[in-house]
Structures are given as structure tokens and as C-alpha cells.
């Protein structure tokens, strides 16, 4: 067997130019797969973390909230949120929880009124959860010393000509259905990255909103876990607790809440599958062509080997071994080059323009996934061996006398 390995390995480098061309196709193809997969993983990670930052790993609702339309604000809210919050935080893997209240209304600067979508939060808990909203201008809700601070979406602030320290009036419907209003101090402005959202959103402290809506209820809890991987484990634990304590609560994971994440993973997975298929076909065709040329060039040599007593099976194996070595070498070079490119790109921090509907660009990052490296390495070997099958069969089926007489 060693002898065949030696012949096969030397044959790989026999026609250097052809080896270089086929090797380039293989290496570029494999690198493209590794880099694309790494970029996809970065996009998945970014989208996932973005989703988790917005929603928390889990959200807990009153079950009715998910099933029916509220006729009045907080009709399907959660009572006794403080004691419930304490219960939720006793569950393993839970880092912190935050009660949130969603409300809508009008915000006015005295001259102009604009509809808003508001969210009342617990900023000190948000900070513990690593979810404290970062403001672009001014200060956040935690740092503000104002009595009723509010942070506004950047576009909303612009439309109201609001500046940090300015006073605005927000009006909404109370839990009983009456109209109510309160003055808030603009603490700062923030951006979600999406222009449409930035023109509508504002955020206030939970106490401000509860006072405004005249309620003790909250809409939901956002739950932060120690690790995203523990999401399903914690969800199961929550459901068991709700059942044991006869609580009419339901839990949703970040992936169920984030449609963007599902869309991104679906689209990228489809793109990757198509790209992989194209590269597979290209490399197999290229390697098959190279091996076929090798067979044509070595017809007399094959005849000689068979005349000396080499079996057809071994001739077949010789060409497959050649493909295997080609794949092993090409796969190794691909991994090394892909690793270098990943490192260089990640260090360069090249900025991409904003995605559609977004206002901010993001850096290209490629996550060097060990699984992708190993998978593509084996794919390289499979592609080259697969490409060698037909030529190898052809070579092994030659008639000895015809092969020896071939010029």
C-alpha cells in the first residue's frame, strides 16, 4: 500500500500547472465556504444577541395576553409583579428579571403632538441584565436625576425638536379607560437602528407609567439568563413552576419572539446551501477533468502497471488515492488560508453599510468555527475523491494491450 501512496502522492505534483489550477479551484471554493459560514455565524450571533438584548432570553406574560385582544390597557396584565419577580429570580440560570409595561399615546411639545409607542422599564434591573438602553445624547434613565425622565427615539426627538432637559407632555388612556397625562423631562435620545422605530418609541421608568396609567400591573417580564444556551432549560422550569403554583402565565423564548432571527437564519441557510452546491459541482467537475486528463496521459503507464501484475482494483485505488491526497492537501491549505483571512478581516474591522430599514452599519466579522473548518476539510476530500471516481474507473477498465500500445 505504501508504494501506491508514494506513486499517488508524487502524481499529484506531476503536472504542477494543472495541480495549481485545480488546487486553486478547490482552495478558493473551500475558503469561500468556511468564510461564508463564519460570516453567517456572526450574523446569527449578532441577530441573536440583538434579539436577546431587546427581549431578554425569555418573556413571561399573562396567558390571556397572548390569546385575546385587550379592550383596555393592561386588561391582561400581570398583578403582584414584585412577588412574582422574586419567584422567577429563584429559578436556576436566571440572572435577573425586569417588569415592563407597554403603552401608547400622544406626546406633545406644546405645539406639535405625535403618536408614540412607549415602554416602561426598571433601569436598575436593566443594567443588571446588561440591557440598559444606551443613549446617543444626554443620559439614560438610570443616570437621570429628573423626577419623570424619558428617553426618546432619535427621530421622535427630532420631530418634536426635543433636547435633553426639555419638558414634554405625554397623554394616554388609563387602565380604567380614562384619559391621563403627565410631564416628562427629556433625559436623552437613543436609536434602535431602525428609522421607523426611532420615530415612534420612548421609554420611561415603570413608576412613571404605572402612575400615568393608574395601575399596579405590568405587561410582562423580561428574563435574562446566565447563558443563551440555557433558554429551553429555563423555559421548562418556568412552565413547571407556573403549573405547580396555578399561575395563569405563559412563557416565550427570544427565538419565538424574534421574527428577524428566524428570517435571517432561514435566508442565510438557503444561500449557504446553494453556494455549497455550486462549489461542490465546480470542484467535482474540475477535479474530474484533471483526473481524466491524468488518465489519458498515463494510459501506457497504466498498461505497464497492469502488465507487471497490478490488479484493476489497485489501479482504481491508485487514482482514488490521488484524489484523496489532493483533497487532504487542498483541504489543509484551505483551512490555513481561511484562518488567516478570518484573522485579517476581523482585525481590519471593515464596516458594512446599514442593512435595509436600518440606520447604522456594522463591521464584517468572521467567526472561525471549528465545525466549519473540519466539515469543509472533509468536504474537500470527498469532492476530490468523488471527482476521481469516474476517471479511476475508466483507467482501471483499460485493456492492457490497448494501453501498452497507446502513444
Amino acid at each position: 500500500m505504501f508504494s501506491y501512496a508514494r506513486i499517488a502522492l508524487r502524481n499529484v505534483f506531476r503536472n504542477k500547472r494543472r495541480t495549481l489550477i485545480t488546487g486553486s479551484v478547490l482552495i478558493f471554493g473551500c475558503m469561500a465556504l468556511i468564510i461564508t459560514r463564519g460570516f453567517m455565524e456572526y450574523m446569527y450571533w449578532g441577530t441573536r444577541e440583538g434579539a436577546v438584548r431587546g427581549t431578554g432570553h425569555l418573556q413571561v406574560y399573562n396567558s390571556s395576553f397572548l390569546n385575546k385582544e385587550e379592550m383596555k390597557p393592561l386588561e391582561c396584565g400581570i398583578d403582584n409583579y414584585a412577588s412574582l419577580q422574586h419567584l422567577l429570580e429563584s429559578v436556576p440560570h436566571v440572572r435577573a428579571t425586569e417588569a415592563r409595561l407597554e403603552f401608547m399615546g400622544l406626546i406633545s411639545n406644546g405645539e406639535k403632538s405625535v403618536a408614540f409607542v412607549g415602554e416602561a422599564v426598571q433601569p436598575e434591573r436593566q443594567k443588571r441584565m446588561g440591557m440598559l438602553v444606551q443613549v446617543r445624547t444626554g443620559v439614560d434613565l438610570l443616570a437621570s436625576t429628573a423626577e419623570n425622565p424619558a428617553i426618546l427615539g432619535s427621530e421622535l426627538a427630532k420631530s418634536l425638536n426635543a433636547q435633553p432637559g426639555g419638558i414634554l407632555t405625554i397623554m394616554t388612556m388609563t387602565a380604567d379607560g380614562a384619559l391621563n397625562g403627565t410631564d416628562v423631562t427629556v433625559a436623552g435620545m437613543y436609536s434602535t437602528g431602525m428609522k421607523e422605530a426611532d420615530s415612534r418609541i420612548l421609554s420611561v421608568r415603570l413608576e412613571t407609567a404605572q402612575r400615568l396609567l393608574a395601575t399596579n400591573r405590568v405587561t410582562k417580564f423580561a428574563v435574562a439568563l446566565d447563558r443563551t444556551e440555557n433558554t429551553l432549560l429555563a423555559r421548562t422550569e418556568f412552565e413547571q413552576i407556573f403549573q405547580r403554583n396555578h399561575l395563569n402565565l405563559a412563557v416565550r423564548t427570544w427565538s419565538e419572539l424574534s421574527m428577524v432571527y428566524r428570517q435571517v437564519t432561514t435566508i442565510f441557510s438557503a444561500v449557504f446551501a446553494v453556494l455549497g452546491l455550486i462549489i461542490f459541482v465546480l470542484v467535482v467537475l474540475s477535479s474530474s477533468n484533471t483526473m481524466m486528463m491524468a488518465v489519458f496521459e498515463r494510459v501506457q503507464e497504466i498498461g505497464t502497471l497492469m502488465a507487471l501484475g497490478t490488479s484493476r482494483f489497485r489501479i482504481l485505488g491508485l487514482f482514488l488515492l490521488e484524489g484523496l491526497f489532493f483533497g487532504l492537501i487542498g483541504g489543509t491549505v484551505s483551512m490555513a488560508l481561511a484562518w488567516s483571512i478570518c484573522t485579517m478581516v476581523n482585525r481590519a474591522r471593515i464596516q458594512l453599510p446599514p442593512m435595509p430599514m436600518n440606520t447604522e452599519g456594522f463591521p464584517i466579522m468572521i467567526q472561525p468555527l471549528p465545525g466549519a473548518f473540519i466539515g469543509v476539510f472533509f468536504l474537500a476530500v470527498i469532492m476530490m475523491v468523488f471527482g476521481a471516481v469516474l476517471p479511476a474507473l475508466r483507467g482501471s477498465r483499460l485493456k492492457i494491450v490497448d494501453a501498452l500500445g497507446h502513444i
Binding site: F2, S3, R6, I7, R10, N11, R14, Q300, E301, G303, T304, L305, M306, A307, L308, G309, T310, S311, R312, K399, I400, V401, L404, G405
Partner: protein, 239 residues
Amino acid sequence: MGEIIQCQEIGKDYRLGTTTICALQGISCTFHAGEFSAIAGPSGSGKTTLLNLLGCLDKPDRGRLLLEGRDVTSESLNRLTVYRQKRLGFVFQTFNLIPVLSAYENVEYPLLLAGTPARERRVRVSDMLERVGLLDRGDHRPNKLSGGQRQRVAIARALVSRPVLVLADEPTANLDSRTGTEILHLMRQLSLESGVTFIFSTHDPRILDNADRVVELEDGGIAGNGSRPQYPAGEVQHV
């Protein structure tokens, strides 16, 4: 000397499109162990076809071929492969060395096929290279050797597995006259030393002059019915 090859009315046809060409017709002859024999004849007379049949590289369409008393006509291709590996050696007109292997590795190859242990391989390959005068060229690839040296390597490769029969297809045709003579003398010497049967296909008069016997072919059959005065040292085989 015992008979090593018996050809009994063997024939071979080739198809060219719709035409069938009879390459060999009713060949009957015998070769004895240790002989240094030649198959002579003009181009297209069937020399190479007969040599291919004797070397189990092809099968006759008619007749029987017995090698060492064994009828190889009905043997499977796999069994013939093993038979060639263990009992036959080949020398080709164009040397047919494996270009990616060194001279040493080319000679070693048949022993690797036969599964000969490494230590024995080293001894036998070195011995063969020494006998053909190329021990110092063992690490050279074929493209770094002259035509004569390549043919010496091919002869060493043919003999290293200690075959009973070496078949040489015009072994001097691609060599200049001096090198051709050297190669011929080398083969003759090795034949005498090892007692191996050599059969050549050739129209080189030097080989024919040195052959123990000459089988002359013409139009796919054995030619003539008398002695060949132009080959005084040899003997022309008759039916």
C-alpha cells in the same frame, strides 16, 4: 530442458469497425526453459500479438496456450494478473518505467506487489541494479537516465522477481547500435546466469544472430519451411 510454453493452434482476431482482422492464425510452437528465443517477422506479421498472448496480457480467440503445463486460455483475468506478477517479466521497446519512481523504486515495484519483505527487497534490488551496472544510479528518476540506462533498469525490473519467463518486445529498437548491442549482451548474460527463458519480438539482426531459436512469423502464421541462412547462429522454428 522442459517445455515452458506450448501454443496449440492459437489464433487472434481484431475488429476494426465492421471488419475483422485475423492477427494470428493456427500458431503452434513450443519454447523450452532457459532458451533465448526470438519471434521475428516484418511489421504487421503478428509478433507483438503473439508476445502479448504468451505474456498473458491478452487471450487467444482460438486454440490452447499452456504455460508451465497450465492452460491459461480459460483462466480468469485476476488469476492471470497474479500469474504475471509471480512468474513473468516484461521488457518494453519504450522502457515503460514509472516516471515518478526512481530507478531503485522501479526495480522494487514488482517485489512490493508480491509482498516481499523489506530486507529481502533491499538485497534483491541492490543485487539487480549491480548486475545491470546501475547501483550508483538507484536514486535517479527515469528522465535523468539515458535510453540504455533506462532499458537496463527495465531489465532489472523484469528479473528482480525471479520469473521463469521474460518477454521483451523489441527491446533494442529505441537504442543506438552500440547501446543495443550492450543491452543484448547483458540480457544474454543474465539469461545464462539465472536460467530464465527469454523470448523477444524483434527484427533486429543482432538479436536474431544471438538467439537459440527464431520463430518467424508472416501474415499471422509461422513462415517458411526451411532454415534461415541469414541467422546462422539460430534455429528457425517450423510448424
